[in-house]
């Protein structure tokens, strides 16, 4: 069936609410407005205002209420319109959702799913273009997901709702309109493993979420010039799938990590550090990173494009990494 990322997310929510009476959706403008990004359009009409709850502008309040409702036996899906506003709810996420199970010695689990849009690229400027999923991936007690394909948009939510612990789903704003084919019986998918989105032999390009389409485009171009890139979609940012990362590096011996966070302290840094720690002697070249420039994301189109990762930057990083291999080979 032909669908879009947005529709796949919506189908996942509808499915979840049909499967389980305890599932409900809450957030700013998820109901009457139809969702800030129209993901929940039509759900209010289908499930009513009890299960599709418009909230006031109170990110800490309603995320915290989601935690409480989860403690109380519900299975809330809390939509924080964008990651930018989630800064207002981080106390609840980090100090409560992530810690309650542990602080209570295993007594109180928090079966909560928080969804939010992340990323830049739509000229929304500095306060509306953050990519902070890497921050949350630092926090023990949370599971962090980043769907990048229609299958994952459709399938990750239910698996997340079955997780007894809090799961955050980051949806890159540029993906909602991505259209394509999805199997009619598409359903829940695993949320434990990274995926090889393109097999290749020369260099591993490791990414997730919004930058996956860009990386796949770069891989196509690279193949035209004889560089065969393997593309890994991390899918789950916490816990990272070390096996998949190490397997691809063991195969290609070269890695480029791509994410939209600012380079310093990016999730790519963690992936790079892990590769160094566990596969140093496999490496034929230093692990490279393609991230955002260290500037608040500017409004002007040309500046924004220059600030964010791009196909061109991925290609040149991959080329340089492959080039360096030869330098080393020559030097060895």
């Amino acid at each position: 069936m032909k669908t879009t990322f947005r529709e796949a997310m919506r189908a996942a929510m509808r499915d979840a609410m049909q499967r389980d009476e305890r599932v409900f959706l809450m957030g700013e403008d998820v109901g009457r407005y139809g969702g800030g990004f129209a993901v929940s359009l039509g759900l209010l009409e289908e499930f009513g205002p009890q299960r599709v709850r418009d909230t006031p502008l109170s990110e800490a309040g309603f995320v915290g209420a989601g935690i409480g409702a989860a403690l109380g036996g519900m299975r809330p899906i809390v939509e924080v319109m964008t990651v930018n506003f989630s800064l207002l709810a981080l106390d609840q996420i980090v100090n409560n959702a992530a810690t309650l199970l542990h602080m209570s010695g295993g007594q109180f689990n928090v079966p909560l799913v928080v969804r939010m849009t992340t990323g830049g690229g739509r000229q929304l400027a500095a306060q509306h273009s953050h990519s902070l999923e890497g921050w949350l991936a630092h926090i023990p007690g949370l599971r962090i997901l980043a769907p990048a394909t229609l299958e994952d948009a459709r399938g990750m939510l239910w698996t997340a709702l079955e997780d007894p612990d809090p799961v955050l789903i980051f949806e890159h704003g540029s993906l909602y309109n991505v259209a394509g084919e999805l199997a009619d019986d598409a359903g829940p998918v695993d949320i434990d493993r990274a995926a090889v989105r393109r097999a290749g032999a020369d260099v591993s390009i490791i990414t997730y979420g919004g930058t996956l389409p860009m990386v796949l485009a770069a891989a196509d171009s690279l193949s035209a010039e004889g560089i065969d890139a393997e593309v890994i979609d991390l899918r789950t940012l916490r816990p990272l799938d070390d096996d998949a990362i190490l397997a691809t590096v063991a195969k290609t011996h070269r890695a480029v990590v791509v994410d939209e966070g600012w380079r310093s302290g990016s999730l790519s840094a963690e992936v790079s550090a892990r590769i160094t720690e566990s596969a140093f002697y496999e490496l034929d070249a230093p692990v490279a990173r393609v991230c955002s420039e260290e500037v608040p994301v500017p409004y002007a189109k040309h500046l924004e494009e220059a600030a964010l990762p791009s196909v061109a930057r991925v290609i040149s990083a991959a080329r340089a990494t492959v080039g360096q291999v030869e330098a080393v080979a020559g030097h060895a």
Partner: protein, 337 residues
């Protein structure tokens, strides 16, 4: 809310100060025409990102700005083209900013939601709902600590009042007796969320009063009422009366932003409010009182259109910030000191 004036009282008021009334009309029209053009330019893809227009609410910015001094400060939201313009930011610089050009008031880095201007002490342009309120408190604190009799006017929507940052800011301002004028633009909706689904207490002036802040509700479709209430409140704030809160009851005629299908309100409601269009109303009253004739109106619209045309032309001919400057203004360019 102070009871609305009778038609006779209004006519008397307008007759007493016709220049002021015509000036307020002109200011509102500047905003209206500028924004109508913005909408066209958005459709033409000249302006991108999010665009939130203020059409219908112009009386609020027009009335409040006319009550401020040049050395006062203004903090606004993402719906701030009108505030910037009426505060004195040139239309050229505003339009160029929305084009993402180097000639824009923020060199193209801010865009529609982030207009700033040091000359007029216009502190943005904030795209985080309620995010500007603590800044206003701090600006006022600085004035207070330095013994300056300046006022900081802070605009926000009624939706912002549910945020914790609203609460903390009102409390701080009241506790420390700071010279802030809180201007709530109650247009009844926060995106698609109606006031009664967002606030358990829908009498917003009463709510603000619970912080021991002097508060009034004002007809925000009546620029004269706005001007009068703002002038009084600004005087009180300036003379040490502590923070004041004004709830302006208004309405946005257009969608929340360019992406809003407006599924959450009835056409009839919009039409009802459009009958109270602050520009048409005041124009009608001036004409009825014989204080504005066809020539007068034509001259106002001519001037305003010329300003807007010039702004668009200026923006069209603007340049792009060099890519080499991408990383500029992340940190200040330090003096060698």
């Amino acid at each position: 809310m102070t009871p609305p004036m009778t038609a006779e009282e209004r006519a008397a008021l307008i007759t007493a100060r016709p220049d002021q009334a015509r000036e307020l009309l002109r200011q509102m029209l500047r905003v209206r025409r500028l924004e109508e053009r913005c909408v066209e330019l958005y459709s033409a893809s000249k302006i991108r990102g999010f665009l939130h227009v203020y059409i219908g609410e112009e009386a609020v910015a027009a009335g409040v700005m006319s009550a401020l001094r040049p050395d006062d400060a203004v903090v606004a939201t993402y719906r701030e083209h009108g505030h910037a313009l009426l505060r004195g930011v040139p239309a050229t610089a505003i339009m160029a900013e929305m084009f993402g050009h180097a000639e824009g008031c923020c060199r193209g880095r801010g865009g529609s939601m982030h207009l700033f201007d040091a000359d007029t002490r216009f502190y943005g342009g904030n795209a985080i709902v309620a995010g500007g309120l603590p800044l206003a408190v701090g600006l006022a604190l600085a004035d207070r600590m330095q013994g300056r009799d300046r006022v900081t006017a802070c605009f926000f929507g009624e939706g912002a009042m549910a945020e914790g940052e609203f609460h903390e800011s009102l409390n701080l301002a009241a506790l420390w007796d700071l010279p802030v004028l809180f201007c709530c633009e109650n247009n009844l909706y926060a995106m698609g969320t109606a006031l009664e689904r967002s606030e358990s207490q829908t009498d917003l002036a009463l709510k603000a009063a619970s912080y021991e802040v002097a508060s009034w509700a004002v007809d925000g479709m009546d620029v004269l009422a706005v001007e009068e209430s703002a002038r009084r409140a600004v005087e009180a704030v300036r003379s040490g009366g502590g923070p004041h809160f004004l709830e302006f009851r208004t309405y946005r005629f257009r969608a929340h932003s360019m992406f809003d299908p407006e599924r959450y309100r009835e056409k009839a409601e919009v039409e009802h409010w459009m009958e109270r269009d602050p520009i048409a109303s005041l124009r009608g009253e001036l004409e009825a009182s014989g204080l504005l004739d066809a020539d007068g109106w034509a001259s106002i619209t001519r001037d305003v259109d010329a300003e807007v045309d010039a702004a668009v032309e200026f923006a069209e001919s603007g340049t792009l910030e060099p890519l080499a400057d991408l990383a500029r203004h992340v940190h200040s360019e330090r003096s060698t000191a």
